[in-house]
């Protein structure tokens, strides 16, 4: 299967290891992976802040970049959910409507792609440690991916899983929300990190870099020893 | 009776909806799903009685099941439990049918104050209801799922009977039990379509009054009755 990697701007800049792991996992399960270099950001930071005009440039750039791809796979529920919004945004725009529909139809979040498209439930990784998982809001509610990450984590050898209390609660990231309403965001991320520490887990795992940066940043600020990992890190661990 | 400001108001709505006024010909579409009809579909009457009994636990309501012959005894026990010295009951054909009229006479002979709602007596009915210990009515339709008795209040069955006294007893002929509010609503809808006037007050009553307004603590018994008993009775 031919897969184009949608790296997402956060992983591209902040945590290239997530991109590397994603590529290696996909190759391991037999995909031929390419990386369209023209891709930029999905446009979400501007779109969600109300800057429709300012977001469309990125979106069009993404439509161009992935025009010829068969499948587009990215390590983020939120960014992929954004791609799924494109048809809605470009509705009635004769130049882009078709392309937007096409991209939405072929785009998948990493775990969703592995489980739902490839039919894989075990990627053969080994990871020793006590792990809890934060299901990010956009991944679960907007993209509707709830079970796939759990299915894959269950089959990681050596991994001890602990459930995160009130896991479906937002961590307080919310993109620009975190800097526009820092006071509220602080309360939310504080509550989330309390729940994380309550579990006694050594690792917090998630599928969205934004949320992980938020929770992780609060954990280190509070001097908590919990390490934060992207699910791709775990699935590619030997 | 008067209707004021209607035309300008509704014209504006139509305009904002981007079309001309609709004054006729609107049909309700067939909805794509109808989950309300799936609830306890095909359940027998006995199964519905069980559902009702179970639901009574959730709504802080005492549940009794009896035969017509034994209704009097169950009622007596319940009234005693509620320390009922002043009783108000609806003026209902079913009082005779279930021999409650003779029972009420007997109660009076025993010194209990019994007031059968009497439209002629006007507000006196309310005054009695306000100081009554127990109010008694029949249920006109009983909703198993939610544990609800439905009253089509009328001039014999004043709204006060099930509202003002401290406690309330609903007598539920078994045949009035339906799966849920869906069936009762269809009945009213169809009667309305056939030109029957809907009762001025349809009361769906589910157990005693309650409130969670103080720190989310459930308080049973606020403005309406504080205790409720349902008595299901095999039909005559």
């Amino acid at each position: 299967m031919k897969v184009s990697l949608f790296i997402t701007c956060l992983c591209d800049i902040m945590s290239s290891d997530v991109g590397k792991d994603t590529v290696e996992i996909l190759e391991k399960v037999g995909c031929e992976v390419d990386f369209p270099e023209l891709q930029t950001c999905c446009g979400q930071p501007a779109y969600n802040s109300g800057y429709l005009k300012e977001s469309k440039g990125s979106m069009k750039q993404m439509l161009r970049a992935f025009k010829d791809s068969e499948y587009v796979v990215g390590p983020s529920g939120s960014c992929v959910a954004m791609l799924h919004e494109y048809p809605h945004i470009f509705k009635g725009d004769p130049n882009w409507e078709e392309a937007a529909k096409d991209l939405a139809d072929k785009s998948y979040e990493l775990t969703q792609f592995l489980v739902d498209v490839m039919g894989i439930t075990d990627v053969g990784s080994n990871f020793e440690g006590r792990v809890t998982y934060h299901p990010s809001c956009h991944m679960t509610r907007l993209l509707g991916v709830k079970d796939a990450p759990m299915t894959l984590l269950e089959n990681v050898k050596g991994l001890e899983f602990v459930e995160l209390p009130v896991k479906e609660d937002c961590c307080g990231f919310g993109g620009t929300f975190s800097v526009k309403n820092p006071v509220i965001s602080e309360q939310m991320v504080e509550e989330k990190t309390e729940h994380v520490t309550e579990t006694g887990a050594e690792y917090l795992v998630g599928g969205d870099m934004g949320c992980l940066m938020n929770i992780g940043g609060r954990l280190t600020r509070n001097g908590k020893p919990v390490k934060v990992l992207h699910i791709a890190n775990i699935l590619n661990y030997q | 009776m008067s209707i004021q400001n209607r035309e300008a108001f509704l014209n504006k709505l139509a305009e904002n909806l981007g079309r001309s006024r609709r004054t006729e010909g609107v049909e309700r579409p067939k909805w794509s799903v109808s989950p309300q009809w799936e609830v306890f579909k095909g359940a027998t009457q006995d199964e519905l009685v069980d559902v009702l009994e179970e639901q009574c636990k959730a709504i802080h309501t005492d549940f009794q099941k009896t035969s017509t012959a034994d209704l009097e005894n169950v009622l007596r026990e319940t009234i005693e439990r509620y320390e009922g010295n002043a009783i108000i009951a609806a003026d209902d054909e079913r009082n005779a049918e279930y021999q409650l009229d003779t029972y009420y006479q007997q109660l009076e002979a025993e010194g209990v104050e019994v007031h059968i709602w009497d439209a002629e007596k006007g507000k006196e009915n309310q005054v009695f209801a306000e100081r009554a210990d127990v109010g008694i009515t029949f249920s006109d339709a009983t909703l198993a799922e939610s544990g609800t008795v439905t009253l089509f209040n009328n001039k014999g069955n004043g709204r006060s009977i099930s509202l003002l006294p401290k406690t309330y007893i609903a007598i539920i002929p078994k045949s009035t039990i339906v799966p849920r509010i869906t069936q009762a609503a269809r009945h009213i809808h169809e009667a309305n379509q056939q030109g029957h006037e809907v009762s001025s007050c349809v009361s769906f009553i589910t157990g005693p009054s309650n409130s969670a307004d103080i720190e989310m603590n459930l308080i049973v018994g606020v403005h309406g009755p504080t205790k409720v008993t349902y008595i299901v009775v095999e039909d005559k």
Partner: protein
């Protein structure tokens, strides 16, 4: 009161909310209970998504034909001896009601809980005109005695603890017992009974009116709405113009959705459908009935992309699911409609000037959208509001606009974008210590005030990928 409450700035209100430990504890545990109640009630049905679809379809059809159904409703009410008044503004509604009371020479008004009467400021208007107005819902009564606005649309006194309530009862009504909820409630029952029996006017809201027969349906637990509509000789019901359903069959679906979503009950203790005046020979119920149908800004929403906001059945499920509401409480929203639906509705009804912060008081986590029993896409409406604030109202901060201009250039130019992936680490170097930033510059400050920011990777993904590819080829 009107829709707006308080005069403090949004930031100030939020600070106050966050400092209020009791309120936050109360809201948090209430949310927990509401949530599990709602989920359990939905689970019992098994096909909750079908129910939501049905709710949405009914609301949609009703709104698309609102003029038709309101006409039918008013005809039916009139046929059953009721008067109907269509009020375009709050003033018109209040004037009409004042006049009715004046004509009846009414002195005492008992009210059951109604958000729309809060919205139009009816109590103040009636008090000004010399009426005594008594709120009879327990929560509303507490707030009325304490002159405090509601903080929740279903349990309005959620922010108050029993000790505060005891004090209020003592100061205002001479209460001398404990702060046990049962005793407090019993006191309210005794006090308010007197008011019910002596009132000449009863005022209610309306959960749903039924167009086909003219019934006004009230959904309550305490029984006060039944008293309000059984004892006084004159009844006035006030409804937002969107609060109706075509038929009884639709009524039961929406009532089922409402009670399950609001409080996790299959039905509340009392669902009461009242039609017109009492009939010949009946003792209870009003001899005179008025239905006041209120627009007050709603019609502006019809026909716009916000139309589905009018589908709201005021169940508060979105409020109970909202993590922002949990931390800041209802009063922070500065509106009688708090939480997600408040953030959507308030700017629509009352303009952006005083409420432009509300659409941003959300992480767009969509917990609200998921909870809504009639599938209102609340988080999408919030994004739409933000677009309007930026583009039409031009109320966005300058620095933000500048940043977004920069974003637009960056995102549409692969070269600029690529450059940034290369430069990020170096650019942040001066602030980076041990692979993290604790005191970020400029716009990063708001982030690092609260949490650390990680240092960008040593090698960007792109350069790794390039090297790797070269290695493959070699």
């Amino acid at each position: 009161m009107s829709i707006r409450i308080g005069t403090n700035s949004f930031e100030h209100r939020v600070q106050e909310g966050i400092k209020n430990d009791f309120m936050r504890g109360a809201v948090s545990s209430a949310q927990g209970r509401f949530r599990s109640g709602r989920l359990k009630a939905a689970e019992e049905l098994g096909n909750w998504e079908d129910w939501r679809t049905l709710g949405e379809e009914i609301r949609n059809h009703t709104m698309e034909n609102l003029d038709f159904y309101l006409q039918q409703l008013s005809d039916q009410v009139s046929k059953r001896g009721g008067n109907v008044f269509f009020a375009e503004t709050a003033e018109e509604a209040n004037d009409y009601i004042q006049n009715v009371i004046k004509k009846k020479n009414g002195k005492k008004v008992v009210k059951s809980k109604s958000m729309v009467t809060e919205e139009i400021g009816l109590n103040e208007a009636l008090e000004e005109a010399g009426s005594e107005v008594v709120e009879t819902d327990l929560g509303e009564w507490i707030l009325q005695l304490d002159e405090d606005p509601p903080s929740h649309i279903v349990t309005p006194a959620l922010h108050k603890n029993k000790e505060q309530i005891r004090e209020t009862f003592a100061a205002k009504k001479g209460y001398d017992k404990t702060d046990k909820p049962e005793e407090l409630a019993l006191f309210a029952r005794e006090q308010l009974r007197k008011d019910f029996l002596s009132a000449d006017i009863g005022i209610t809201g309306c959960n749903f009116a039924v167009a086909e027969s003219g019934a006004v349906t009230l959904v309550t637990n305490e029984g006060n709405a039944r008293l309000v509509t059984s004892l006084p000789d004159t009844q006035i019901s006030v409804m937002g113009m969107e609060r109706l359903v075509p038929t009884w069959e639709d009524l039961e679906v929406l009532v089922s959705l409402l009670t399950r979503s609001a409080v996790g009950q299959k039905l509340t203790s009392y669902v009461t459908s009242l039609t017109g005046t009492r009939l010949e020979g009946e003792v209870d119920g009003p001899e005179e009935f008025h239905l006041v149908i209120v627009d007050n800004g709603r019609s502006k929403i019809l026909g716009t992309e916000f139309q589905s906001a009018l589908h709201c059945i005021r169940c508060a499920a979105c409020i109970n699911a909202c993590p922002v509401y949990r931390h800041v409480g209802g009063h922070s929203y500065g509106s009688i409609y708090p939480g997600p639906i408040g953030a959507v509705l308030t700017p629509l009804l009352d303009g952006y000037d005083d409420h432009k912060e509300l659409p941003y008081a959300s992480t767009l986590c969509a917990a609200c959208t998921e909870a809504c029993p009639v599938k209102i896409p609340l988080h999408e409406h919030l994004i739409r509001h933000r677009q309007i604030i930026v583009e039409r109202e031009n109320k966005a901060p300058k620095a933000e606009k500048l940043a977004m201009k920069g974003f637009a250039k960056w995102g549409s130019s692969p070269a600029a974008y690529k450059m940034s992936t290369k430069m990020a680490r170096t650019a942040l170097k001066p602030w980076t210590k041990e692979e993290k930033i604790e005191n970020g510059p400029g716009p990063m400050k708001a982030w690092t005030d609260v949490r650390d920011f990680p240092a960008p990777s040593k090698q960007s993904f792109r350069s790794w990928y390039k090297t790797r590819k070269k290695g493959d080829e070699a």
